[in-house]
Assembly symmetry: C2
Homo-oligomer: 432 residues x 2
């Protein structure tokens, strides 16, 4: 192992056998963590070649159970987002695309810090279970064309262990390590094609478009090496997506959007990502056709119906979907008012995400308990004109003491200008 | 700790308090090794500033016992070599300089791999003990002006622990880490001034003069920050120093050199390093005077007498010094003959060092037992003309099976040329 550390440190490419011995040694604990962490830091500085990254992905993918979706006919699609604030796209996209005839086999994660997680949002729906066995998962897709569940503990254990070590050794933010971590999980879940939404901006992991492009290229490179089609869409995460942040609030917005009444940015993003999914899934010939199909599915109510199908297949109470006012709410709410007059020129997603955590909507640590009713409803977004004293947002919490802390963070999020700010694009780039 | 790793990873200077918390956490085991090794790899790539290196040295130095030499009058001198093949200078220099009136308080180490260690060489002398208590050490210096002993286990424990981790994580060869490791030990031993012999070449840790210069500058920088005078002499270690490699063989050469009959290169190096020691010790006004003093001490027999004094003070049998043929030898010896005719143009010190280990003169691992009689006597060195079949060296071993393996390594060491090679300088540079 010392030789392999030094080899990487000196910038020499490792063979597949060498990477295998490192990952096997790590998972079997025959190589101590202090050697792996030194290796990871050497990777941080020296990088990994395309071949090394693909090999690492492949080896991690095979470290646990592999989901075999071959029983399900058609090209199985998966979608991944690198995480943002107010990002409820999965719960809109999955039924939308499934309604178009593309089988959606989606394994999702939980939220941590300022970013939310699909599983947490789903659990805001009474009765709904995200724990499906492999058999249940496949049977549900065969029956309804859609399932969204939590990741099996046996899925990619090497990545789980490696991520935990990276998290405490300053080696998280490296393109190859991020890419192989994401892709090993997507590939182990058995998808044939994947659309990746790479968020860039204040509220995202990637802060610059250059880094987002590198991440896109690396993940597409892994896909190529492993014979899976990957499309990456780089999108802006400077302000929160949509108008809601917080689990039950976001479910309400999901329902509205599936019915065609969602906020403009969220709808736009879902149509964009969804179109790529239909093309990759070979249900539409091109993006224009795909977009037409998706619009029709929203207008006809078929997309919303598929959502209901998903919820009831996983045991969720349909009444709370039909009457969203029955979704969890909070004992207290407070209007957050503007102390300025002018156009909102910035609305920092990170600050808003952190404010929502203070209100109880997210997790400060992995052990935190989520309050599904808590969160923020944005009344104004970038480009809107507001007067002094006008409501910018409604804050929801069961802990009245949290309003002050949340308001302090909200205060940081807003910047005002006297001229209307130029509209910034939401979809920045598509990479195949 | 994660923040400190990321800070160093991003190239930001750490404060003394931050380095203290890292080293304290490491020695008390409240910071896990996997974080320390990631930090070390970040240091490998991002380096340490002068202030960081001096602070690390100071903190490590204070991690254990500090030897207080203030009872001993005069400027106490120490000497350090970065290690080479056939390097017996300490055992010549220490008595030579002590005879000139400079108190020599020397703590030495053992050999590992192709490099030998002073303590092992001393133990070739029957009865001699290298284990002195602090009181014995100081009392002996007060009485005889000289003591050479092993390092106390309580000396710089942080460095011992850190070196062990560096050794298995590919983070040994970094200038700041090497410098702080060496200097923390030297400073904990209480020396007021230090002469450092930085070896460069095949048989040395430093392979290029540029790196040797960086190491010199870093150690002098630490000395300045900690108010100790440091002179670094960069010397060549392409061929072995002197004509002997192996413990008893080297003791014989030490005796010859102290009597004025030593090989030219070894004598030259000892006079060079010794002169700097006399100047730093303020016994001589300049290097020319110092050299004169040292030559006189050799010619008068005073240097050799001081060596006898050192040996008997530490319990060594003076008979084996007076009659070196009584020193340990081996049951077998073999003449290693030339298969070429021409001038020796290269004599790779690393290969010769490894050959001597095969014969039993050194340690392959820390647990290996040394055969004090084993080793190599070089009959020819670079620049000598040899005929086919002429003796190049005599190999000594108690294990006849080792001769073949040693001869194979010897074979690699020699390069011949038809023209006499240009003489290469032994002393490359002096840095204050």
């Amino acid at each position: 192992m010392i030789e392999l550390i030094i080899k990487k440190r000196n910038g020499i490419e490792l063979t597949k056998e060498e990477i295998t011995s490192i990952i096997d040694g790590f998972t079997s604990e025959s190589i101590p963590d202090y050697q792996i962490s030194a290796f990871l830091m050497a990777v941080y500085f020296k990088g990994m070649t395309r071949a090394e990254t693909a090999n690492l992905t492949d080896i991690m993918m095979r470290s646990g159970e592999l989901i075999d979706l071959s029983e399900i006919k058609g090209i199985k699609l998966d979608k991944h987002s690198t995480g943002g604030v107010g990002d409820k796209t999965t719960l809109i996209l999955a039924p939308l695309v499934a309604a178009a005839g593309v089988p959606v086999a989606k394994m999702s994660g939980r939220g941590l810090g300022h970013t939310g997680g699909t599983l947490d949002k789903m659990e805001a729906i009474k009765g709904l279970s995200i724990d499906l066995s492999r058999e249940e998962f496949i049977a549900q897709i065969k029956k309804t064309n859609i399932a969204v569940c939590g990741q099996n503990a046996n899925l990619v254990p090497a990545d789980k262990k490696l991520y935990a070590l990276r998290d405490v050794t300053g080696t998280v933010d490296h393109i190859s390590l991020i890419s192989s971590s994401i892709m090993s999980k997507k590939l182990a879940c058995g998808a044939d094609a994947i659309v990746i939404d790479i968020k860039v901006g204040h509220g995202a992991f990637m802060k610059t478009i250059e880094n987002a492009e590198k991440l896109a290229a690396t993940m597409i490179g892994i896909g190529e090496k492993m014979n899976r089609k990957v499309t990456a869409v780089i999108t802006s995460m400077n302000e929160p997506l949509g108008c809601t942040i917080g689990n039950a609030l976001e479910i309400k917005e999901v329902i509205e959007t599936l019915k065609g009444n969602g906020p403009e940015d969220l709808t736009k993003l879902c149509l964009e990502l969804g179109s790529h999914m239909l093309v990759l899934g070979e249900v539409s010939e091109n993006l224009i056709q795909a977009r037409k199909t998706l619009n029709n599915l929203i207008d006809s109510g078929a997309a919303y119906k598929k959502f209901e199908e998903l919820i009831s297949a996983q045991g969720g109470d349909l009444n709370v979907i039909k009457q969203p006012e029955l979704l969890p709410s909070t004992q207290f709410l407070e209007t957050y008012k503007s102390t300025n007059e002018g156009f909102i020129s910035e609305l920092n997603a990170l600050d808003i995400g952190l404010a929502s955590v203070k209100l109880g909507a997210g997790r400060e640590t992995k052990e935190s308990v989520i309050d599904h009713g808590a969160g923020i409803l944005l009344k104004k977004k970038i480009g809107d004109y507001v007067k002094k004293g006008e409501a910018l947002a409604i804050l929801y919490s069961n802990n009245p003491a949290s309003f002050t802390k949340a308001a302090e963070l909200m205060e940081l999020a807003y910047t005002f200008s006297q001229e209307k700010p130029l509209e910034k694009p939401l979809i920045l780039k598509t990479v195949h």
